[in-house]
């Protein structure tokens, strides 16, 4: 299958290892990966912050970039960004007032997949040949859980990882407090939510907390590092790409 990688601006700039890991997994499974270099940002931050007009050029750019890629599927290592494109792009592309973009947007949205959903629901794969011999908690990020409804796809993938000890996290489905600009505009509430999540991670005594979104993990990592808690925050793709004992 020809798969176009939707990297997200965040992973491209701050967390390239997540992108590399995604490529590793897809290629290991025998798929051709293409990277449309015209992609920048899907516009989620602008839309969710209320800057709708500013987001429309980004929507137009995204639709064109991936339309030209001519891929069978568009795969993204972020539940949140995948959810925006999958569920809101048809309408957003409409709002650009450009009929060609609108048509392409409608055609494109259903072909966009979050990585774990793509592997489990589309490819029917659970064991991707990974090895990660550590005690790990999975934090279901809100948009993957409640917008994309990824269900247990990430857990199925994690259970098949060699050597992993997967533990249940108390209050797992409670938001970690990131929420995009919420983390800055309502920093105190965001921090209170994060501290509760960190407390649960400490109680679980894990080596690592994994998730489908680099953004939520960035927020948790920032809190973990500030407090010196020594919990790793690999993206799910990084665990699935791992084959050795090195964390």
């Amino acid at each position: 299958m020809r798969v176009a990688l939707f990297i997200t601006c965040l992973a491209d700039t701050l967390f390239p290892d997540v992108g590399r890991a995604t490529v590793t997994i897809l290629e290991r499974l025998g798929h051709e990966v293409v990277f449309p270099e015209e992609q920048t940002c899907c516009g989620q931050m602008h839309i969710n912050s209320g800057y709708r007009q500013q987001a429309l050029p980004l929507v137009r750019r995204f639709v064109r970039a991936f339309e030209e890629a001519g891929a069978d599927a568009i795969v993204c290592p972020s539940g949140s960004c995948a959810a925006l494109v999958r569920h809101h792009y048809a309408e957003l592309a409409e709002r650009t007032g450009d009929e060609r973009v609108a048509r392409a947007g409608r055609a494109l949205a259903p072909r966009v997949y979050e990585l774990s959903q793509f592997l489990v629901a589309e490819l029917g794969v659970e064991d991707v040949g990974a090895r990660y011999p550590h005690r790990v908690a999975y934090h279901p990020t809100c948009h993957s859980l409640r917008m994309l409804r990824v269900g247990d796809a990430p857990l199925r993938l994690l259970r098949a990882v060699g050597g992993i000890e997967l533990v249940d996290l108390a209050d797992a489905e409670t938001c970690c407090g990131f929420g995009g600009t919420f983390a800055i505009k309502n920093a105190d509430t965001s921090t209170a939510m994060m501290e509760d999540k960190l407390m649960r991670l400490q109680e679980a005594g894990v080596h690592a907390c994994t998730a489908l979104d680099s953004s939520c993990l960035m927020h948790l990592r920032g809190g973990i590092e500030r407090r010196g808690l020594g919990i790793a925050t690999p993206h799910l793709a990084e665990i699935l790409a791992a084959t050795g004992d090195a964390a």
Binding site: T13, H46, I47, C142, R146, C175, N186, D188, S190, G222
Partner: protein
């Protein structure tokens, strides 16, 4: 009406520093959440029931003017009087006028969000009329000179020990009061019984009104509501115009949805329905005050209008991680929590401190999953953020935010600009790390909120796209 002029982030900060409040809220919301989940899971096709609830409210709003006129006709046919109030001031003036005409010096009140919204108690007191709240939690809030902090559990922020101290200070004959719930309830009961038996006017809100029959419905748990709506000679009900359902069958759906979503009960203990007046039974006079107060304007917004579906169950508050930590007072409005964050700013016409409320959410979506009438709260929150930004032309924050957002949009709008910005960020990595790397460092402009509690992520030494090109 709320006196709060503080915006959410600042108001929340105060609440977050109160460990007793945090513990009270956590304990209470966790309990109600579990109860709701249990009784909802018993219903075979809960999702179908929710879809029916949503459809009923959509149909109601689409036909609202006709249904309101039908309601008025039925109420009048059955001996009631209908009053139309454009805003809080008109509604309060109507109620004060009716109480004065009866020559009463006090009224007994059923717990009502709508009368809280319009500030009726203050208006009555200014007119020399004493309002007595008769719901236990509302009584606690009233005796403490406090404000409700939850739609269903107004004193959720108070512990039993705090309530005992309050009663000992304010209710006669409570010197040896324990903090056992039964003892606290008995103390309130003794005090309230006297009020019920002497009041000449009862004031209520309405959970629902049925257009086809002209019936008004109040659901409650303590029996105080039934006392207020049956014993006094005059009954006055203040109701928002959106509280209507077309038929009794529609009401049945709502009465299935509401108790399970709100108190986590299969059925609420008391459901009172009345239609106008009946000779020799209950009040001799019934007045229904229909309140607009911004609702018609909300109805005009195709995305925002679903906020008017709300049946005030408060399930969204109980699952909201923001509400659980910040508490109801931080919202500075009668309607707190996720539903408040979409109702309050709309009722206020997107002006004033409540415009900060659409941002009082991480958009986690837990509220939308539990709403019994299918309100997509995150969708409305994002919509209102857009409306506020466009209306104010400076968003909810300093002009700096708009400038930053516009600059970033320009960067993202072109590949060359985007890649150049990545290179600049990378070049700045070392100085960034020195300047902002850890605790105690000065935060970068606009990012103080982040760095107060979290380390700042630094740009990677090599972007993904650079790696891709070089592989």
């Amino acid at each position: 009406m709320s006196p709060a002029a503080e915006r959410f982030p600042a108001a929340a900060r105060t609440a977050l520093r109160d460990p007793v409040l945090r513990a009270n809220l956590r304990r209470a919301t966790t309990t109600i959440r579990a109860k709701r989940a249990e009784v909802v899971s018993e219903v075979e096709d809960w999702e179908h029931l929710r879809a029916r609830g949503r459809a009923i409210k959509q149909r109601t709003l689409a036909q609202l003017p006709d249904l309101l006129e039908a309601l008025e006709r039925r109420v009048v046919e059955h001996g009631g009087v209908v009053h139309w109030a454009r805003d809080a001031e008109e509604a309060n003036a109507i109620v004060v006028g009716l109480v004065r005409a009866e020559g009463a010096e006090d009224v007994v009140k059923v717990k009502s969000m709508t009368t809280d919204e319009i500030g009726l108690n203050d208006a009555l007191q200014r007119a020399g009329i004493t309002p007595y709240e008769t719901d236990l939690a509302e009584l606690i809030v009233q005796l403490a000179g406090d404000r409700p902090s939850h739609i269903l559990v107004p004193a959720i922020h108070r512990s039993r020990a705090q309530i005992r101290e309050l009663f000992k200070a304010r209710l006669p004959g409570t010197e040896d009061l324990s903090d056992e719930p039964a003892a606290l309830a008995e103390a309130a009961r003794r005090f309230l019984r006297e009020r019920f038996l002497t009041a000449r006017v009862g004031v209520s809100g309405a959970n629902f009104a049925v257009a086809e029959t002209g019936s008004v419905c109040v659901v409650e748990s303590e029996g105080n509501g039934r006392m207020c709506t049956t014993i006094p000679r005059v009954l006055i009900t203040v109701m928002g115009i959106e509280k209507l359902v077309p038929t009794l069958d529609d009401l049945a759906v709502m009465l299935d949805l509401l108790p399970r979503s709100s108190t986590g009960e299969r059925m609420n203990p008391y459901t009172s329905l009345w239609t106008g007046t009946a000779a020799g039974d209950g009040p001799e006079a019934f007045h229904l005050v229909l309140l607009d107060a911004g609702r018609a304007d909300v109805l005009a917004d195709p995305v925002g209008r679903q906020a008017l579906h709300c049946i005030r169950c408060s399930a969204c508050l109980n699952v909201c991680p923001v509400y659980e930590r910040a508490g109801g007072h931080a919202y500075g409005h009668t309607y707190p929590g996720p539903i408040g964050a979409i109702v309050a700013p709309q009722l206020a016409g997107l002006e004033g401190p409540t415009t900060s409320l659409p941002w009082a959410s991480s958009l986690c979506g837990a509220c939308a999953d539990v709403c019994p009438v299918g309100i997509d709260i995150p969708e409305v929150l994002v919509h209102l953020r857009g409306e506020v930004v466009e209306k104010a032309r400076r968003g909810d924050a300093a002009a700096g935010e708009r400038l930053a957002m516009e600059a970033m949009a320009r960067v993202f709008a072109g590949r060359r600009r985007y890649e150049a910005a990545q290179r600049v960020a990378r070049a700045g990595r070392a100085p960034l790390e020195r300047m902002y790397g850890g605790a105690g460092h000065r935060p970068p402009p606009g990012l103080g909120g982040w760095t107060a509690s979290r380390d700042l992520p630094l740009p990677a030494p090599e972007s993904f796209r650079d790696w891709w090109r070089s592989r």
